[in-house]
Symmetry: C2
Subunit: 131 residues, 2 copies
């Protein structure tokens, strides 16, 4: 574990980006950030665990929605400054909007945008009200 951590380059905030890919068809589901402890927890528990920059706390992906990500494969890049994990996405959707992938906004050749893919769940029904 320590060898892996030493091979990674964390930025000045102690973070490294992690690309999350579906292990079945290689769709990119999301990109989030890990710190050293999040990397350790991800490797140990096999559940994708990030550091939430907005909440400044550990974030086990899916802990609210139930849509956890079971880590099947773990890679890092030639510079050691980016992680790639291939996961089994429980519930099918990774995005908090209900979309399968966070990358549902496509730029068209005319320079506009269009939404691609259907919503797999209604966020209103999945997330607990906090207000």
């Amino acid at each position: 574990m320590d060898t892996i951590i030493k091979s990674l380059k964390f930025d000045e905030k102690g973070l490294i980006p992690a690309v999350v890919q579906d292990w079945k068809d290689n769709a990119v589901l999301m990109v989030a950030y890990m710190n050293k402890e999040a990397v350790k927890r991800t490797l140990k528990t096999k559940k994708a665990t990030f550091w939430s920059r907005s909440r400044q706390s550990f974030w086990v992906k899916g802990e609210s929605s139930g849509n956890i990500q079971k880590v099947k494969e773990f890679y890092y890049d030639c510079d050691g400054d980016c992680i790639l994990i291939k996961v089994q996405q429980i519930g099918g959707a990774a995005c908090h909007t209900g979309h399968r992938s966070c990358f549902f906004t496509k730029v068209t050749s005319a320079g506009n945008t269009k939404t691609v893919g259907k919503k797999l769940f209604d966020p209103e029904k999945v997330y607990k009200k906090t207000k």
Copy 2:
């Protein structure tokens, strides 16, 4: 173009990460960074263009090796803080090491690493000597 730029969130260094995926089989080839001008150039020229953090200069991917990336699709994520491009990788290899993908280091279940995938070119023969 301006609408797209306004939808994106650049970090305090003016950068946004971009995941580069092969449009044929969705393999993740690399992750690099763009600034506003690199986004514009990428959208305009359809050649993946980044901002090199190490060289502090624009970087048309493949300008040295000939292995340019023709941009087929351009997405951004739900938060607008990450880009995903699907490209046709000329020459087959995206990594400066000669590997197809920069993510050729896989962490094994035992916590060791192994190199996956063959090298597609010899960097010594592709890059011009600069010393």
